[in-house]
Symmetry: D2
Subunit: 495 residues, 4 copies
Amino acid sequence: MSDALENAKPFHAHPFDDDKLREECGVFGVIGVTDAANFVALGLHALQHRGQEAGGIVTHNHGTGFHSARRFGYVRDNFTSAKLMETLPGDLGIGHVRYSTAGSKGRTEIRDVQPFFGEFSMGGAAIAHNGNITNAEALRRELIDRGSIFQSGSDSECIIHLMARSLQRDIPERMKDALRRVEGAFSVVAMTRTKLIGVRDPLGVRPLVLGRIGDGWVLSSETCALDIIGAEFVREIEPGEMVVISPEKGVTSHRPFESRQSRFCIFEHVYFSRPDSILGGRSVYETRRQIGVELARENPVDADLVCPVPDSGTPAAIGFSQESGIPYAMGIIRNQYMGRTFIEPSEQIRNMGVRLKLNVNRALIAGKRVILVDDSVVRGTTSRKIKEMILDAGAKEVHFRIASPPTAWPCFYGVDTPKREKLLAATMSEEEMREHLAVDSLKFISLDGLYRAVGQGEGRDSNCPKYCDACFSGEYPVEPFDMIERGFKLKTAAE
Amino acid sequence: MSDALENAKPFHAHPFDDDKLREECGVFGVIGVTDAANFVALGLHALQHRGQEAGGIVTHNHGTGFHSARRFGYVRDNFTSAKLMETLPGDLGIGHVRYSTAGSKGRTEIRDVQPFFGEFSMGGAAIAHNGNITNAEALRRELIDRGSIFQSGSDSECIIHLMARSLQRDIPERMKDALRRVEGAFSVVAMTRTKLIGVRDPLGVRPLVLGRIGDGWVLSSETCALDIIGAEFVREIEPGEMVVISPEKGVTSHRPFESRQSRFCIFEHVYFSRPDSILGGRSVYETRRQIGVELARENPVDADLVCPVPDSGTPAAIGFSQESGIPYAMGIIRNQYMGRTFIEPSEQIRNMGVRLKLNVNRALIAGKRVILVDDSVVRGTTSRKIKEMILDAGAKEVHFRIASPPTAWPCFYGVDTPKREKLLAATMSEEEMREHLAVDSLKFISLDGLYRAVGQGEGRDSNCPKYCDACFSGEYPVEPFDMIERGFKLKTAAE
Amino acid sequence: MSDALENAKPFHAHPFDDDKLREECGVFGVIGVTDAANFVALGLHALQHRGQEAGGIVTHNHGTGFHSARRFGYVRDNFTSAKLMETLPGDLGIGHVRYSTAGSKGRTEIRDVQPFFGEFSMGGAAIAHNGNITNAEALRRELIDRGSIFQSGSDSECIIHLMARSLQRDIPERMKDALRRVEGAFSVVAMTRTKLIGVRDPLGVRPLVLGRIGDGWVLSSETCALDIIGAEFVREIEPGEMVVISPEKGVTSHRPFESRQSRFCIFEHVYFSRPDSILGGRSVYETRRQIGVELARENPVDADLVCPVPDSGTPAAIGFSQESGIPYAMGIIRNQYMGRTFIEPSEQIRNMGVRLKLNVNRALIAGKRVILVDDSVVRGTTSRKIKEMILDAGAKEVHFRIASPPTAWPCFYGVDTPKREKLLAATMSEEEMREHLAVDSLKFISLDGLYRAVGQGEGRDSNCPKYCDACFSGEYPVEPFDMIERGFKLKTAAE
Amino acid sequence: MSDALENAKPFHAHPFDDDKLREECGVFGVIGVTDAANFVALGLHALQHRGQEAGGIVTHNHGTGFHSARRFGYVRDNFTSAKLMETLPGDLGIGHVRYSTAGSKGRTEIRDVQPFFGEFSMGGAAIAHNGNITNAEALRRELIDRGSIFQSGSDSECIIHLMARSLQRDIPERMKDALRRVEGAFSVVAMTRTKLIGVRDPLGVRPLVLGRIGDGWVLSSETCALDIIGAEFVREIEPGEMVVISPEKGVTSHRPFESRQSRFCIFEHVYFSRPDSILGGRSVYETRRQIGVELARENPVDADLVCPVPDSGTPAAIGFSQESGIPYAMGIIRNQYMGRTFIEPSEQIRNMGVRLKLNVNRALIAGKRVILVDDSVVRGTTSRKIKEMILDAGAKEVHFRIASPPTAWPCFYGVDTPKREKLLAATMSEEEMREHLAVDSLKFISLDGLYRAVGQGEGRDSNCPKYCDACFSGEYPVEPFDMIERGFKLKTAAE
C-alpha cells in the first residue's frame, strides 16, 4: 500500500545521481552518555555521504520509554531543531541514514525509514541495518502466511518479525535466531531498553566499528563519525561477530554464525567510505592515493596536466601526479551550491545538468593535454559530458584514467546499482568504451592493481579472494536468491 | 514508542474543548463510483464534527492496488489538494475522521490515524472504526505474546492482527472471527480489493447508515454525509449486522453475533450528531427542539428572554421559547473565526478564553431576566464563565436550563469524557451545582423527559432501557474490562 | 510590478464569497497598555469579519523603535505565535484586517497589506484605513510626477506620500494636510512614536469608536472589539473629527474638514457589522430583528415555517417570526468547517459549492410552505441554489423575504461589489427577479422600511438622507472620481 | 522599522562564517533571450558564492509589465520551482544575490533584498548593485527631508530615489544624474522596459563583465556565470563606464564620470571570485596557485606535507607544493553536508563547530611536519581550532602559510568585515599572532609578493597602486564618509 505524499522528499544534491554506484545506508549507535540523541545526530551527519534521502533516530529513556523520529532530508536540516531533539531523551540511542532499500520498489515512504521498532513481551527493541537481505522476499511471504502484518516495504522489517516469533525469551538471543534465517550483507546496530547491540554478517561485507567515549560506547559504520564526537577508535567489529554492550558489563562478544572467509566490499575503499575514515588499519585517502600511483604505473601517458573529476577522483589524481611527475591542477571546479532542478531555458544549454555542478577552468585547460582521473565509470553518461566540456574549453587531448576496474555487474549487498544492461562495461570492451566516450585514451586500473593498492601485494588470489568484488568480477559470495527468482542470470562458465 | 513530531497538529477550533463530551470518530465508505476518494473526502467533511484532529482515506484501484493518505487537521485543509487526491485513485474507498482513541494515552501520532491496513496472504484489507474496544489492552497483550508487531497505539489495530491470525481464508469470514473476540462499541467500515463492508456491534451503540448513489453504495456514520454527495438514504445498518457490498452482488446481510436488545447512544440525539441528520427516522434538530419543549414543561420559569448557548443549545432554546412563550433572542454571539491560542496581554482579561469565541449582546441583555439553554454540563467551567459575562452585561437574573440529565459517569464507548471525579454531577447535587455556578436557577431535563423527547412516550423502562444512557445512569451495557483492570469502580447497589 | 508568490494566500472560508457585498477593512489601535500588540491581535480577531485576507500590526517601543508584521490569512493563525508576538514590543500599536483594496487590481501582495509606514524627518508614522479614496489614482499620478516612489498598489499609500511632502513639521498637522487632499470614505487609525490618532471622513461613512481600558485608550471599527479586551465603550468618533491621543494629555479633538451632513453607511446595519456591536446607540442585532419586523409588516405571507439563510439572515428571521406568528425553524444547517475547494467527483453533484457549507434539514422541510429570510440579493446565484435544495427536500412553497432593498448600484466607499451589470437588481424588476429565481414570492424591504428599522420613524428624507444608501438609491454622496475617469456612468435624471 | 519574521532565513552553510571576509553581492542581467528569468536563475546560481542569504529576480514582459520575486535562501531552493518561474515571464531580466548590506544594521528583511524597483512618470526601472555607497546615510537624510519615503534599510535604495527626483526625462540620463551623487564602490545592473544597463564606479572596485548569448547580451559579476549558460565572454565593463544595451541598437558605451586611475579590489583575486572565473585576462585559479609559488619563495620551511585549509586554500597549497617540492596532501577533509546548528551534547565536544565541517585525516597526519596553507587570517578563531585538531591527530609541527598579507583594516566597499578591533592583525604583530595561534611558524605573503602574483612584476607602486588594497594597507581610495561620521578613524601618518 503506498502512503501518499506522507512527507515531501528533498531533491538530491549528489553530483551525478544517476551515474554513480551509491552506498545505501549508514548506522550509528551510542550507550552510556547523557543526551544520546545529540551524539547520534552528529554521528549521522558525519555518515551523511552513505545515505542522503532520510534519517531516523530512536532513543530510550528510563521513565518515558522509547522515543523516535524519522525524517526525509539531511540530518542537518532535521535533527538540529531543539524542539525535535527534546523529544528524544535518554542515554542510549541508535540512528540510520539511508538512500533507498532494495525492498521499496521505487518510492520510499516515511515508514520505510529505519530504525524499525518492535514491542515484544519482554520489552521493545529497535534495529537499523546497512546492507541488503538477499532472501527478504521469500521470508516476507512466509511471515505473512503465519499472520505477521508488515508496516513497511523494507527488507529490514523481516528481522523484527522473525524476532517477534522466536521462541527465545531474551532479545539478543532472539536476534541471533532471526539473523540465522537471513542471507546477504548486513551490519546491524540495535538496542533494547538497556543494551546496545552490533552485528556484522559472516562475510563482513559492510563495515562496522567500535569506539569509546568517556564511560560510553559507540558503534558506527565508519571512523569519521567517531572523530566528529571526539570518540576513540577501539577496533572493527569482526565479520560474523555480535557485540552486546551495556554500561555495567561493557562489551561482550558472541559468534552466532558458522565461520567463513571474510569478503569486505572493496568498493568501500574506492568510493563509498569517506577519505578521512580508517578501513583495515589504513587511511582511505592514502589507499585512494595509492590507487592513483598503481594506475600511473599500469597506464602511463604523456600529458601536461593531471586533473581530478571532483571530488571523488581527487586522491587518485594526486597519486597519479606524484607517480608520473605530471603537474596536478584543478581543471574542473565544482559548484559548492549544487542543484539539479533548474528549469532549462528555451535556448537549450549544452550539458546543462553537468554545468550546474561543474565548470571547466577554461583559461587553464586551453591548449593542454589533460589526464582526467575519475573513481569509476558506471553508465558513462557523465564522463561523456565532462569530456565535451573539456574539449569545448580548448583541451588538445583528453585521457581518462579510472581508479577502479570496469563495473560490469550489479551489487545486491546494499548498493544502488543500475540494471546490468545499463552498465557500460557489461556490454562494451575497454576499446569500445573509449570510442563511445570519444577520448584519446581510456584506461582502468586492473583488479590485481586494485588489490595491490589496498595492501594485497600479490594482487587478487582468484581461488580465495579477500574482498567482495562482485561488481567487477561477477563472483557473488552470497547467492542473490530474490533476484534470481525475479530472473537475474548469474555469470556463466563461458563469461 | 512515541514518534516525535511526525506531523504538526492543528489547534482545535471547537468552542469549549475541555468542557464538552466529544464524539471520537466518524466513518465513511463508498463503492461503485468513479474517483471514490473525492466522495470520501466530501463525506468526511460532512462528518468533521465527529472528529477534528485527523483524517485518513484508503482507496483501491485495479492495477495499482491500495493507496492511502493520513493527515492531521481538517479534511478541507488536506483532502482538497489535487496533488494529494490524484494519489488516491480507484472506485472503492473508505475514510475516517477522529478525535482521539482510548488507546493512545495522550498524544496522537500519524500512525494512529485510521484506516488501518493489513496485507494477508489472500490480499489486503483496510478498516476504520467508530467506537471503542473495551478489551483492547487484554487482546493486545495476547497478540504480542504470539508474535504480532503493533504499529500504533490504537485499539483498532487489534482487529487487523486478529484477522491476520484467523484460520479462515476469506476476508469477511476473518473479520467475523476477529470481531467475535472484540468487546465494546464499534461501527466498522472496511474494504477489500473488491468489497465494501459495514458492521455494527450487537448493541448498535454507534450509528451507521446505508445509502445509494447511482449504481454505487455508501456507508456513513450519519445521513448528513449522504446529503452532501446527493446520495439517497436507504436504511440504518442494524445492531449486530454485517453488510458485505460489491457492485455485482449488491448488499448481502450477515448476523455474526448473538442477538441482544439494542442500546443506541442517547447522547447522539442530545449533542453528537448533526441537527440535519436523521436518527431512528427522526430529524435530530426536531428531537432537540422537542427536548426544549419537555424542558420548558418540566422546569418553567418567568423571564424576559430565552437565549441559547451557541451553537449546540439553539434547537432546544427554540423549543423552550415556543413552549413557554418567552421570546427567543441571540443574547450570545459566537465569533465565526474561532481561536484558542492568543497570548494573554499583561493586563489580565477576565474570561479571555471564552471571549475569543463568544460575546454577549450587551445592549440586548442589560436589565433582562435571561434563560440560558445549553446542551449539557460537564465540568461546569464554561457555564460559570458565560454566566459571569451575562451578569457583567447587566442581566437581572440568569436561569440555566440544560437539555440533558446530569452527566455523572464517563463513557467508555468511543466518547472522550473527563475522569469521573472531574464531572460536576458526579460530586454535587443539582442544588450544589446551582450554588457552584451562582445562578438564580439551574434545571436539567429528567431522564424520563429525555426518553419522551426521543419518542419513548412512556419514559425510560428501567428494566429494559432502549438506549445506552450510562453517562447519566451509570448502567454500562458492556462491562468496561480494560478500565476495571486499571481501577475504575462500577456503580454500587448503594448509589 | 507584481511580486510573485511572496506569500501563499489562504482560501476564503466565507460562505458565499461571490454573492455578498463585503466590507473591506477593519482597524484597531491602542495606547497606554503593556504589550499593545496582544491587545491589537485580539481586537483584530474580533474584527475578522471585516476582512479575512490579511492582517498587519505595527507597534512602537521606546528604545527599539517601530516594529511590524504583516501576514496573509486569519489573525488566529498568525498573531497567536509567541515567536511572532515577541517581535512586536511596545505600549502603542495599531492593526488592520483587510479583504482587498480598490487599488490592487486583482491580486493582493504582502506589501499592499496595511498598516503603511513612513519615515519623516521628524520621525515615523504608521497608518491604517478602512474605506476607499475615490481620487487615489489622480493623486498617485501627481505624486509620481513629483518624485515619489510607491511601494504598493494600495490607495492608502497616497496618504503617507502626501504627509511626506507636507510643509508642516508636526505629524498630526501633516496628516490634516494630507487628508484634505483626499476624497472618499475613510476611517483612519494612525500612530507616531508617542500618539494614537483617529480620523473619520466628513461624511462619517465608515464607523470608528473610542474605548477606554485602564489608563489606556482604544480606537476600533466596532464595539465588539472593545468587548473582547474588556474595554469600556466611550463614544463614536464623529464624522469629520480627528482625535489625537497620548497617555499624558488624553484625547484632544480636532475638526480639520468643513462641516457637512453625515452619511453613515446603512449597510453596516444590514450586514457588515457584527450583531453584538452597537451602532448609533443601538444593538445591531436588535436593528436587524426590527428589519424582520418591518419586512413582515410590509410583505406578509401565509406559511408554515420562517427559516433564516444562515447566519446573516438569522436576526431578521427571528423578527419576521415574532411579528408574523409563524414558527421560526432552522431549516438550513450550516457546516461549521467550511471549505470551498474540494475536487468535484466525476459524477457531478448538484449545487456542490453550496452543499459544502449548507445542508437542508430534510425531515423538517418536507411538505412545508417555507419563508426564507436573507440579508440581501447581490448576483442571485446563491439564492437560486438554496431554493433548489429546499425544493429537492420536498418543500411545498418557497417565499423569499430580503432584509434590504434591491442592490442596484456598486459601492465605491470601501466595499467589494461586483460591476453594476452583475447586480441582479440593476437589470431586473422585482417580478423579473422572482421569475429568475423561480420562487413562489420574493419581496424586499422598502428603503423607507429600512430607514424606519434603523430608527428614522418617518422613513427616508429624500431631500436630506441621513445615511449613505448609494447601493440602493444610486445617489453617491461623494463623486467617485477615479471610477468616472474609468468610464462609470452615474445615475441619470431618467433613472 | 523592522518587519518581523516576514520570511524565515536559512542557516548559512559557509564553513567559517564569522572568520572570513565575505563578498556581499553578485549581479546578473540578460536581454534578448526567451525566458530571461531561467537564465538569470542559472547565472545567480553560479554567483551564489558572492551572497548566500537571499536572491531576487525582476523581469519585464511586453503586455504584462514588470514581474519580481525575492526570496531568502539559496537560488537552487527557490528559483527552480516551475510555479515560481512561470510568474517571471519576459525576455529581459536582472537578478541579485546578497549577503547583507551595510545599511541594514543587523537583520535583513525581505524588502531589503534587491533588485529595487521604482515607477517613474516615463515608466519603471529596476536596479541591483554590488558594492557599497559610502555616503548613503547622508543622502538618505537629504531625501527624507525632501519627502521621499524609503521602503528598505538598504543603501542601494538611494539610487532609485535620486532617479525619481532627477530632472532628466530619460531613464539612463536619470541614472547618470543619480550615480554622480553617489560615492563608493558599485557595479550596477539595471533595466527599463526595453534596455539592460550596466555601470561600474570610476575606480572599478567591483567586477562586471559583458557576455554574448545568441542574439542577446549578458552582464555578470564574474565570467563563471557566463559559462553556466554557455555565453561567450566579450570583455570587462571598464571602470567609470556605463553600457546601455538593447536588442536593436546593441551595446552603447557612456562615460558619465570624471576619469581616474582604476583600483580593482585585490581580494577578488585572493578569495572572493570563483577559481574558474577570469579576472583581468587571467584564470583566478592560476593567480592563486601563483600566490602559493610566491609564498613558498618568500617563506620556505622544511616539512613533510603541504595541506590546504579546504576549500579556499587549495590552489595556493598546490602552488606552494610545486615550488617547494614538498608533497601536497589532503590532510583536512571537508564534510560536504555542512551544518552549523547541531545541539551540543552535554559532554562537551572540543571544537565542535569546526568538526561539523572539517575532519583531520588522522592516519595521514600522525607524526608529520605539516604546512597548512590558508587564504587569510581575519579573527584567527578558526585557525586556532584547526591547529588544535591537527595537533590532536599527532602532527609533529604545524606551519601556517597565508595567501594574503595581514588583514588589518575593515573594507567599506561591499565586503562584510568585522570591526577593526576584532581583526587579529590590527592589534598584533606577525610574531604575536604566531604566539597567539601557538604554531611553529606563521608567515603571510608580502603586499609586494601579492602584487607580483597578480601580474605586477615590480610589486606595489606605493605612489600609484593599481589595486584597492585598503584592507591590508589602510589606504582608502574613496573616503568612507558615513563611517567617519560614525567615528571611524583613518590611518594616521604615524601608523
